[in-house]
């Protein structure tokens, strides 16, 4: 019997770590206890996207959205909503600075501005049930591609749709497919790159977790188009849930005969194996990834030859990112014309972003290309918490760049996504597409988006990202191995207060060399965070060097801690907490007397700031 209510419990990694499986168990128990087992179905779904508000539950068909649930609220929720039909306002989402809860998921600003193509099934299906996927037109696009289209027609459709690689570089997917189709050599391989390594990025993980069959179907269509016999899904081992769900999905597809020999009683045969990556950032680079699949050390090699000609086991190979594959079935099913209406002139379709950093609505969003930074950060992301000012946004992960708040007037000219180039009076109006982001010195990358507020030190940010890429550099080529190390040393010198003005020029010069001469994408992009912050936030570097000050008070070596004697005595009565807590015994004073810090002894750990209840410790 069909159920009258479906309870969609988010079981993405974010919600699971917040305890959503406990919520699910409590729901099942309570529903059983109240005798609603035949009417109400509990479904565990993949990531819903609003990770900051988890654990999440959506009640369908009403579309009521509950957030931050714990098992102890479940009996009330079942009693009120499922038995009496009264949704429970106190468990709903309340926008910041407002008092009225928003019951419907479709009316919450975070969801309202999104357009789901790659994530079309998120929250609507149980990712471990192939029937749920099929119910949402799953494998219909593949059936169409196999029985009604020639390989050339499939490629023409992907080309006409304007789909570009979602892993970051933005190469035209249809063109890549055509190259592999025309390449000489058998068998041909296709690979799904799920080696998502950017800190704070979780787009690919989420697709594997919420809709693994969409990746398999995309690969089936690609295999048919390119004449590939085997596919490899490369997932990093740190993604246990993603790994488990894609493995279950592959097994189910095999059981149904959607993978294997003579699929749908035709002569088309294709199967997929899974390779687990050990978590090296460089393995996201295609030649390093291929080396890793072959069981060798994950080192990149010089291109050409490109994998399209000489790839896995020396055979023609097509590598696409998880999100790219997930975009393929809707394009085939609904047509290139439909798809190419979304987005801008040169960047078609949608893009998934993980929204993190100093932003209210942390989570995963999918938006049409060409949406502005303002719409993404303020309308969907809910803006910056704590009344702080927006300072910059970093796109493209550790190899991306920082885009500053304010005008971009000194910019060459910014592409507006509609064929015109013009300067921008406010960076927040920057349209998000491949060209615009490259124009301002950043890149689309795989979709990590880190928002920074006034409390962020841009020199420290540049150093953080460079430390990451320097650590992940494989060492195969000199510019990347030595160059990133040199740059990191200089940045460390600057944040510790020993930098010189010549260091800035050295940073730019080394950065340029590393960018131009490195072997692979890792080195070619590693200097980006440094070069963009030097371009947009040079005054912060100069403050560190000349005034020995960190304007955001982040670089502790440059901070001077001082106790305001008036506040200390009048408000705190010389309470002495800082004196007792100081690990260096650098604070002196008596009860009811002003305390002071001995600068010679102070190690600048900042504990005094954290422990003072009266905000008497001032950082300069």
């Amino acid at each position: 019997m069909p159920y009258r209510v479906h309870l969609m419990v988010c079981a993405g990694t974010g919600c699971v770590s917040n305890g959503s499986l406990g919520v699910r168990d409590a729901l099942e128990k309570e529903i059983h206890r109240r005798g609603l087992g035949g009417e109400v179905q509990v479904v565990t779904t993949g990531c819903n996207g609003f990770c900051g508000a988890g654990p999440l539950l959506v009640v369908q068909p009403d579309g009521i959205f509950y957030q931050q649930l714990t098992p102890k609220e479940i009996p009330l929720l079942v009693e009120e909503h499922l038995i009496k039909g009264r949704p429970v306002p106190k468990l709903m989402y309340v926008p910041p600075e407002e008092k009225v809860p928003i019951p419907k998921m479709s009316e919450i600003p975070f969801f309202k501005g999104q357009r789901l193509v790659a994530l079309r099934n998120r929250g609507l299906i149980d990712p471990e049930k192939i029937e749920d996927y099929i119910a949402r037109d799953g494998y219909t696009a593949f059936a169409k591609a196999l029985t009604q289209m020639t390989p050339e027609q499939i490629i023409a459709e992907i080309k006409a749709a304007g789909l570009r690689g979602r892993g970051g570089a933005g190469f035209a997917t249809g063109v890549k497919w055509e190259k592999v189709r025309q390449a000489v050599g058998e068998p041909k391989y296709i690979i799904c790159n799920g080696d998502e390594g950017d800190p704070g990025a979780f787009m690919d993980r989420s697709i594997f977790e919420s809709d693994p069959h969409s990746v398999i179907e995309g690969m089936l269509i690609g295999a048919r188009a390119m004449g590939a016999r085997w596919g490899v899904v490369y997932v990093r081992n740190e993604y246990p849930l993603a790994l488990q769900r894609i493995q279950i999905a592959i097994e189910k597809a095999r059981e149904y005969g959607l993978l294997g020999e003579n699929i749908f009683e035709t002569d088309f045969s294709f199967d997929i194996s899974v390779t687990r990556g050990a978590g090296a950032f460089v393995c996201g680079e295609e030649t390093a990834l291929i080396a890793s699949v072959e069981g060798r050390l994950g080192d990149p090699r010089a291109r050409p030859p490109y994998p399209a000609e000489y790839g896995l086991w020396g055979k023609p190979t097509c590598i696409n990112n998880v999100e790219t594959w997930a975009n393929v079935p809707p394009i085939i099913l609904r047509g290139a014309k439909w798809y190419s209406q979304i987005g801008t002139e040169s960047s078609k379709g949608t893009k998934v972003f993980s929204l993190v950093g100093k932003i209210r609505n942390t989570g995963l969003v999918e938006v049409p290309m060409g949406i502005t930074l303002r719409e993404l950060i303020y309308d969907i992301g809910g803006g910056i918490p704590g009344g702080k000012k927006f300072k910059a946004v970093q796109t493209g992960g550790p190899s991306g760049g920082c885009i500053p708040a304010g005008p971009l007037l000194d910019q060459p000219i910014v592409y507006d996504g509609r064929g015109e180039r013009r300067p921008l009076s406010d960076a927040l109006d920057l349209p998000i597409d491949y060209e615009s982001l490259t124009d301002v010195g950043s890149m689309m990358g795989s979709g990590g988006l880190v928002v920074m507020d006034e409390d962020t030190c841009m020199v420290d940010v540049a150093r953080y990202f460079l430390a990451f890429t320097q650590d992940e550099s494989c060492g195969a080529c000199t510019p990347c191995r030595e160059g990133t190390k040199l740059m990191l040393d200089i940045l460390t010198k600057i944040v510790e207060g020993h930098g010189t003005m010549e260091d800035l020029e050295s940073l730019e010069e080394i950065g340029r060399v590393v960018k131009e001469t490195s072997l692979c994408g890792l080195g070619k992009t590693a200097p980006n965070p440094v070069l963009t912050t030097l371009r947009y936030f040079r005054d912060e570097y100069i403050a560190h060097i000349q005034a020995h000050k960190c304007p955001a008070h982040v670089c502790r070596e440059l901070n001077v801690y001082r106790i305001d004697p008036e506040i200390c005595v009048q408000r705190g009565h010389g309470c002495g907490v800082c004196r007792r807590e100081c690990p260096e015994k650098a604070i002196f004073g008596e009860k009811n007397q002003p305390h002071r810090i001995d600068q010679a002894l102070c190690k600048k750990c900042g504990v005094c700031v954290d422990v003072c209840h009266f905000h008497a410790v001032i950082v300069e």
Binding site: M1, E39, P61, G63, K84, G85, F264
Partner: protein
């Protein structure tokens, strides 16, 4: 299991869709069974089961069923409201399983309101 044929895919899709279409929240018909204390005491649970049974037996995939509280006329419970998209809602009172069947046959599938069973057409003013 045997290998999937093209026809099988469509068959699985149609049967799976019947079980999951509710999640998309878009039905042609919405039936609200009033399940306040009065409704439950008067047998709303049996009415709910009858409604779900009708949907199952008739293979309907465009009918959504929800519950709500007391409609304010406790003496006439069990009650239900049937709303066909684009038409004003119709309230039915003093329901029995047989009457549920009639409502399905005449109103939901036939498009003709069985006026002898209907309590009111349209809804109260809320503002």
């Amino acid at each position: 299991m045997p290998k999937l044929k093209l026809e099988d895919l469509a068959a699985i899709r149609d049967s799976a869709r019947r079980m999951t279409s509710l999640r998309e929240g878009a039905g042609r018909v919405r039936i609200t069974v009033h399940m306040g204390t009065c409704g439950i005491a008067a047998g709303a649970r049996a009415i709910m089961e009858a409604v779900l049974r009708e949907i199952e037996e008739r293979h309907l995939d465009d009918v959504l069923v929800t519950t709500s509280g007391c409609a304010g006329l406790c003496s006439r419970e069990p009650m239900a409201t049937v709303e066909i998209r684009g038409h004003p809602p119709v309230k039915y009172a003093d329901l029995t399983e047989a009457r549920v069947k009639t409502i399905f046959e005449e109103h939901i599938l036939g498009g003709k309101i069985p006026v002898e069973l209907a309590l009111a057409i349209g809804s109260e003013r809320t503002h």
